[in-house]
Symmetry: C2
Subunit: 87 residues, 2 copies
């Protein structure tokens, strides 16, 4: 399946959430990761994310599209690179 | 169709992009908007967004899902509210 995950978490947890998502998905932009992933790995990823976040203040949205052909992505402007942002 | 739009734009243009997207879609989180929209309105929205952004430094990603039933959204933690963030 294809997933998009967006996060809005406290400053102290941004690095941990970002690092964890990067183990499973591709960084897309700002606080957005995306990519193809199996249901099993997705459950594992979200379990790990849930153990990092503070559910009273942090927010994670997971969008799942079972068939990647059902979603189309278009970019406007520049394509952001993870390395530009974080290295 | 159902769309998700994420943006990563220069500070000077964040307010304009956010305001424009709010005319067409629902604010979701951080720099993410989403919602159902017709193809005609989406083209109009993206035309207007393109006239605001600086394509050399800004980045907009548009994810389109033709059938809203093909996408499933799950929230973890709190649901963010536009009013909490901006009002």
């Amino acid at each position: 399946m294809y997933v998009i995950i967006t996060y809005d978490v406290g400053v102290k947890r941004v690095g941990k959430v970002c690092k964890k998502l990067k183990e499973y998905l591709t960084w897309s932009q700002n606080s957005v990761f995306e990519g193809e992933i199996t249901k099993t790995l997705l459950l594992q990823c979200m379990d790990e994310i849930e153990s990092i976040i503070n559910p009273e203040v942090d927010s994670i949205y997971l969008y799942e599209v079972r068939n990647p052909n059902h979603i189309q992505k278009t970019s406007y402007g520049v394509e952001k690179s993870f390395d530009d942002m974080f290295l």
